[in-house]
C-alpha cells in the first residue's frame, strides 16, 4: 500500500504543458507520460519521442497484400488450373490490377492496425493510475502528467516539487 506507483499532476493550459514536457524530458526522466484528451501537435516532439516506425509496418502490409494478390492470381490461373476464358491470357497484368489493388489496401490496413495495437500495447485493460480521479480527467479536459516510480530519477517528494514548479495543479502521489 505504501509503495508509490508514481506522481501525477494536472495541467490546463496547452502552452504550459508544451514547456513542461520539454523540461521533464531535459531533466532526464524516461518513464513518464502526458495523457491528453486529444492529440496536441508537437507535444510528442517536446517529450522527446522518436519518430514512429508504424509506416514501415504498414508498408510491409502493402508488400504482403500485393504479392499475395499477384501470386494467387498467377498461380491459380497460369499454373494450377489452366483454362481459356474469353480468350484472355491465363495471367495478364491488366485483369490482375483490381485484386492487386484491393489486397494491397487490405494488407496495409490490417498491418497498420496490428502495428498500432502492438506499439501501443492495446488492449491493456489495466493501468496503475486507473483509479485516480485526476487520471480520469485526461480523457475529458485536462493534460495529465504521470511520472512512474520505476524511473531512475524518481523520488516521491522531489518529483512532486519539480512538477509543481512546472505549473502542475493537484500534484499527488499515487500508490499501487
Amino acid at each position: 500500500m505504501s509503495t508509490p506507483a508514481g506522481v501525477i499532476g494536472e495541467f490546463k493550459d496547452v502552452n504550459v504543458i508544451m514547456t513542461a514536457a520539454q523540461k521533464i524530458n531535459e531533466a532526464g526522466y524516461r518513464k513518464w507520460d502526458i495523457h491528453t484528451p486529444y492529440p496536441v501537435h508537437g507535444l510528442d516532439k517536446a517529450m522527446g519521442i522518436k519518430r514512429s516506425i508504424i509506416t514501415y509496418i504498414s508498408f510491409l502490409g502493402l508488400c504482403g497484400g500485393l504479392s499475395t494478390a499477384l501470386g494467387l492470381q498467377w498461380w491459380t490461373g497460369a499454373v494450377d488450373y489452366k483454362l481459356n476464358i474469353g480468350g484472355k491470357g491465363l495471367f495478364d497484368w491488366q485483369f490482375s490490377i483490381p485484386i492487386d489493388f484491393e489486397l494491397s489496401i487490405l494488407g496495409t490496413a490490417i498491418m497498420t492496425v496490428i502495428g498500432l495495437f502492438g506499439l501501443c500495447q492495446l488492449p491493456t485493460w489495466y493501468n496503475r493510475y486507473q483509479n485516480d480521479e485526476s487520471f480520469k480527467k485526461a480523457t475529458d479536459d485536462t493534460f495529465v502528467v504521470t511520472i512512474d516510480s520505476d524511473d531512475d530519477r524518481f523520488s516521491a517528494e522531489q518529483t512532486a516539487t519539480f512538477l509543481k514548479g512546472l505549473g502542475a495543479q493537484n500534484v499527488h502521489t499515487v500508490t499501487a
Binding site: H41, T55, G87, K88, Q94, F95, I97
Partner: protein, 402 residues
C-alpha cells in the same frame, strides 16, 4: 499586408523573360524548319498542335485552379493563388493560337482525317458530319476561346482588382459567387475542346472518358508548374513568410494525388477497352502499342505514375524542394509524352509515315509555346502583384499548419 509585391524587376522574372524570348525564337525557327526540311506541313501542324495544346491546356487550367480555390474558399493557397493566375497569360490569346489549326482545316491534307475527301464516302464519318464539319468546328473553337477569355476576365480580373482595394472585399465575394459557374464552363469547354482537337484526330474512335482524361493530365501539369514557380520564388527570397513548408507539402500532396488520379483515369479507359476488345475501340490502343509507340506508353506508366508515386509517397520528402522540383519536372515531361502519345500516332498515320514518327521536329512546337508561356508569365509579373495581397483569407495562408 496590403502593399503590392511587384517582382517585375527581380532577376528571377528577368531570367524567365529572357529564356522565354530565346525559346520562342528557337521554337519558331524550329517549326519553320520542321515544315521546310523536317517532314512537311502535316508533321509541322502535329507538332504545333502538341505544343499549343500542352500550354493552352495548362493555361486554362490555371484559371480553373484559381476558380477552384475561390469555390472552396481555400485559405492555405491564397498566397500562391496568384502564381497560377500569372501563368494564365495565354488565355486571352487562344483564338490566335487556334488560327493555324483552323487554317489547316482548309488544306486538302489537313491533320484531321475527317476533313479529307475520303471522309465523304466513309459511312461513319458521314454520320458524324453533323458535328465534325469545318464550319461548326470553327464556331466551337471561337466559342471556347471566348468562354475562356470570359473566365479569365472574371476570375483573374477580380483577383487583381482586389489587390488595390484593401478592406473592400467585393471583388473576392464576386469570385466566390462566380467560381461555380466558371468551373462548370471549364469542365464542359475543356472536354469538348479535347474532343475537337485530339479525339477527332482518330475520327472513328470515341471514349466517354476522354475529357476527364485530358483534364487529369492538364491539372497535374498545372500543379507542377505552380510548384516549380513557388520553389523559384522561395529560393529567390520572395514572398517571405507567405511561402512556407506547408505550401510545399500541400503542393506535393496535390501532385501526388493527381498523378494517381490521372493513372486511375488512364488505366480505367485502357482497361475497359482492353477487356471488351471491340475493334472500333481497340484501334486507338493497337496503333499506340505498336511500331515503337509502345515505348511511349511504357514511359507514361513509369514517368506519369510509378516515379512520381514512389518519389512523393513519403511524408517528409514533400518538404524538400529539390525532390519536389524533380517530381514536377518528371510530371511535366510525362505530360508531354502523354499528349505526344495521343497526337503523334494519328498525325503519323495521316501523313503516311510507317512506324514511329518522333524526332527533333516534335520538340519545336513545345519549345515555341514554352517560350511564349514564359514571356507572358513574365509580363504578368511586371504588371501585377506577385501575391493576392488583399485577399481576405490571406492570413490563413501564413498561419496554417498541416
Amino acid at each position: 499586408m496590403s502593399q503590392l509585391v511587384n517582382l517585375g524587376s527581380s532577376p528571377l522574372i528577368g531570367k524567365i523573360q529572357r529564356y522565354g524570348m530565346i525559346l520562342t525564337v528557337l521554337g519558331a525557327v524550329g517549326l519553320g524548319a520542321a515544315y521546310a526540311v523536317g517532314g512537311g506541313l502535316q508533321r509541322m501542324m502535329g507538332d504545333y498542335l502538341l505544343g499549343f495544346w500542352y500550354f493552352a491546356g495548362i493555361s486554362v487550367t490555371m484559371v480553373f485552379f484559381s476558380a477552384l480555390q475561390y469555390l472552396t474558399r481555400a485559405g492555405w493557397s491564397s498566397s500562391i493563388r496568384r502564381i497560377a493566375e500569372n501563368f494564365a497569360g495565354m488565355v486571352p490569346f487562344m483564338l490566335v493560337g487556334f488560327l493555324p489549326v483552323i487554317i489547316n482545316l482548309f488544306s486538302h491534307s489537313s491533320i484531321y482525317e475527317w476533313t479529307h475527301e475520303s471522309a465523304l464516302t466513309d459511312p461513319i464519318l458521314i454520320h458524324k458530319a453533323g458535328y465534325l464539319n469545318t464550319q461548326f468546328l470553327i464556331i466551337r473553337l471561337t466559342l471556347y476561346a471566348l468562354l475562356w477569355f470570359g473566365m479569365y476576365r472574371v476570375i483573374v480580373g477580380n483577383s487583381i482588382k482586389q489587390d488595390t482595394m484593401p478592406g473592400d472585399h467585393r471583388p473576392t465575394e464576386k469570385n466566390w459567387t462566380l467560381a461555380a459557374p466558371m468551373v462548370l464552363i471549364y469542365a464542359l469547354s475543356i472536354s469538348f475542346c479535347s474532343f475537337d482537337l485530339l479525339m477527332s484526330l482518330e475520327p472513328h474512335w470515341f471514349s466517354t472518358m476522354f475529357g476527364v482524361y485530358t483534364f487529369a493530365g492538364h491539372f497535374v501539369a498545372a500543379i507542377s508548374v505552380i510548384t516549380l514557380m513557388t520553389v523559384a520564388l522561395y529560393r529567390g527570397g520572395h514572398l517571405k513568410g507567405y511561402i512556407r513548408d506547408e505550401h510545399f507539402h500541400d503542393l506535393g500532396k496535390l501532385m501526388f494525388a493527381f498523378s494517381v488520379f490521372w493513372t486511375y483515369i488512364a488505366f480505367s479507359q485502357y482497361f475497359i477497352i482492353w477487356y471488351a476488345n471491340l475493334p472500333e475501340e481497340t484501334v486507338y490502343f493497337t496503333a499506340r502499342t505498336s511500331h515503337g509507340w509502345q515505348y511511349m506508353g511504357i514511359a507514361l506508366v513509369i514517368m506519369h505514375f510509378i516515379v512520381p508515386f514512389m518519389v512523393l509517397l513519403r511524408q517528409d520528402v514533400k518538404r524538400k524542394t529539390n525532390i519536389l522540383v524533380a517530381a514536377a519536372i518528371i510530371i511535366l515531361i510525362s505530360h508531354y509524352i502523354d499528349l505526344a502519345w495521343i497526337i503523334l500516332p494519328a498525325v503519323g498515320h495521316v501523313s503516311g509515315s510507317e512506324g514511329m514518327m518522333f524526332g527533333w521536329q516534335e520538340l519545336t512546337g513545345w519549345i515555341f509555346f514554352a517560350g511564349l508561356f514564359m514571356m507572358l508569365a513574365a509580363r504578368a509579373y511586371k504588371k501585377n502583384s506577385a501575391m493576392a495581397v488583399n485577399d481576405p483569407v490571406l492570413a490563413e495562408s501564413k498561419e496554417y499548419v498541416v
